[in-house]
Amino acid sequence: MVKYDIPSSSERSEDKDTEWSVVKPAAFTYHRAYDVNDTIAQLAELGPDAKILAGGQSLVAMMNFRLARPSALVDITRIGGLDFLAKDAGGLRIGALTRHRTVETTKVDGFEVLSKAARWIGHYPIRCRGTFGGSIAHGDSTAEWCLLTVLLEAWIVLQGPRGRREVPATEFFHGFFMTAAEPDEMIVEVRFPRPAPHAALTEFSQRQGDFAVVAASARLDLAENEILTSRIVLGGVGPQPAVVDVDLAGQPANEETWRAAGEAAAAQVDPPSDGHGSGAYRKKLTATLVARALAEAAA
């Protein structure tokens, strides 16, 4: 007698050959670039409404809402040689196509703040797809890399039809997704000039992985228990990373200094209000987070 195995019901229904998509950006053309020069040539040809696709973790979401409507995308994610962290004359170079996850899992002496801060970026799949250069180019004022490039006074290395140039991060972010990069330029790498063994970034959002309501980063140079230099940069309090004008040089590295610095930083900012918090709340967060970032940096 013939006896068939009856597949479990789940195995019977395999009728998914008609996959279709519900994502719905406005029309655009897709182009793949195979090296940096190719990218620049394609951007020149496609004109200023073309955008670079470097991981797509922010851009594609905005396109699906039709908030971003690029006429063309130039996909640079297949370009080789731009995925690296490299020690360089005491500093560190990070290739534009280095995934957040790579930064997270690569410990570089003196740059521990980068791998630690990477944990604040979105969720695991986002960290695996999103790129360092992509985040800098996007220029979100709460983005961890935008803050840290300003904090550590990094240089953004751009290449375009007029050649290669380096822009200090402190002058790169012009506010609300605006940067110093021209439409026909691409970020190729970011250069951190010197290590920052005493640096930290902390932030607050109600849910793990969300954009920071406020983010605070701090860098210290310490001699024993005394602060030699300090630098504090905030996100979420304005349209671009905000350098706080507080100099802690000469002060002792202790809780009282951190608390006072937090209060001083809060007094300097005039943050916007939105659904995630009022300006007044963001000021209070600033005080707390600056103090915590400094304490962590000193630890």
Partner: protein, 770 residues
Amino acid sequence: MTAWVGARVPRKEDRRMLLGRGRFVADMARANTLHASFVRSPYASATIRSIDVSAARQVEGVLEVLTGKDLGDPFLQAVLERDEFTPTKMPMLATDRVRFASEPVAVVIAEDAYAAEDGAEAVEVEWETGPVVPDIAAALEAATEVHSGTGNCLVDLVMFDDPALPGIFANAPLTIEATFRSARVSALPMEGRATLAEWDDRDGQVVVHTSTQVPHQTRSGIAQALGIPERSVRVIAPDVGGGFGQKCVVSREEVVLAAAAMRLRRPVIWVEDRQENLTASVHGHEQEYEVTAAFDADGRILGLSADIRCDIGAYSVYPFTCAVEPLMAATELPGIYKVPAYRARGRGFATNKAPTAPYRGVSRPQIVLVMERLMEKAAARLGVDAVDIRRRNMILPGEFPYTGVNNITYDEGSYLESLDLTEKKITEAGWYAERDRLREQGLFAGIGFSCFSERTAYGTPTMSQRRMRMTPGYDTAHVRMDPSGEVIVTTGTSGHGQGHETTFAQIVADQLGIHPDQVRLRQGDTDLTSYGWGTFGSRSIVIGGGAARKAAGTVAGRLRKVAAHLLEVGEDDVELTQGEAGVRGVPDVSLPISELARIVHFQTHQLPEECRYGLEARESADPPGTFSNACHAVLVSVDPGTGEIRARKFMVVEDCGVIINPLVVDGQVRGGVAQGIAAALYERITFDQEGQPTSTTLMDYLVPTAGEICPIEIHHLETPSQFSENGSKGMGEGGTIGAPAAVLNAINDALAHRGIEFDHIPVLPEDVLS
């Protein structure tokens, strides 16, 4: 008899879901399927001067653009047969006026989703914006009306009153006045709404595959709106990715898709995106309570008066009406507590926001929050222990069945036992020591409780008191055994994530003495099942499962008759167990049940007349409703620097009577508690003063993730219900009902030393620091 009921049977549904082989509406599009995109109002309140679709028709790939006028202005009208209720028409596509931002005014049908979206952008509507009613305060003022001539109050019910109350409030040792608020939230099913409609020439039917909890109600809605007989509509719910109430009302888009498919004679699909789901579908839970309560010196409640105001949005949803929240709240506010004197007025106010519908819990998260806060407030003021004050007020063992001041009869529950066990469990688990530890670390920390019951499985004896023109309640099951001895069960309930394929099979398998794998549930298809009301209100296992048990019992009786004839024994001596029809006390004599089924079908002439012609039965269930109950406790911490509030540990002791499947019950409790924590700490649908929605993505609407939800420990008590066929009580909503009150009480415990007290949800970090 109970080999399977109560067993931890893994869900039949899980395998296909986990392998990505479920079949949802979006999986059903075929090569010739057209795609729909809706043109929606950008304004909360506007008159439509004109709609110009000519440019949209020119967009490449666009086949058709339809307005309400093109469709004959179909509408739905939900009716409550009460003088205190004002019915309003909800047009399927607005033709002259829009009442909330995202209200649909036209639909574009195109060859693909991209073209449909492009076409929708190209529709030009000339709007004349009008004044906006953004909230209850503006609705009460009534300077502007959402529906002309209504004064914005669409339902106003004084459900109970007691002339003694003013005296009680004046003379009681303690009288508390307080206002409680809960924000508007979205049920947020993982799968948004989705519909694929196609015309079937052979059957002369429009077949509507739709992500719904209520296939028959949807069929009725489509038939009524389009003026066609119900027979010419077939509604099929394939796999549905959650509903929580959002899909227990008929969507306008479902009706429009059906109409479009009938016109175009081609399949048309619409799968809403998350922005539509957050702005254009229904919301719930936006309520405020102005309450006065009197207590004696020992903390016993003497009187309670509540003015309940619900923001019901722009329209009355079909078929439940906008009265569902105020009615539930005013009727059930006293809950598990013995309130001697009671007054409640429940009102529903129209505003220029998306309509509200029954979202998991339906007012009970709010009324439990009100009662549990009142208990804690009274305890604090009187110096009574906050846990003990509940014992002094709750319905105690020996007092069941208890008929309350609200004319509700509470069947037996374990209100006291669940509270006692919760307190014991959290003490043993060291919660109080941990609270102290957290405080030493510089955090604020607190423990909160909530005690509640949940009326479930409302049949028509209870539902009819609401006086809905369409009164749900009963359900019908059909059980049919095939010649190989396996069984198809149909039910009018429509599971959408609750594991009914598994739990119904367990119930039926026990009746028939077979294995649950031999039982297949058919649901969610109006052509295959008797008229039924779908799945909502924690009704399915008690009503649908009860009907299935009755029908299976009838089939079992026939099997026993057949076996008695073939084995030449008395019917009463036949036992159906483990696939065999055996004889009590005679271990060697038996016949396989499959053999009985074979003979009944293939050699029916060998049997006496009453045993012939198949093995099937149809039965209905229509219970009055039954109360499950639970006690929740939660440990929260509050960060004084950021205001961050975290639920750290959660304990549930629940009693849903006879448990069919502990795995399923635990899953329902966990999901419900997560939604309750969400409502207490994270989620809120927000609008600006112009009625523009401002929480339109999941970046702004903070549904918590696994990262925010703490471990949930669950213990069970089992007090069987005498009102249900299988002793079970519904339990689908309890988690969502109890958790907000427990979390709010815990926050207040944590902040008590600062003199801060909150009576609203969600409590945001910003609230803590202000």
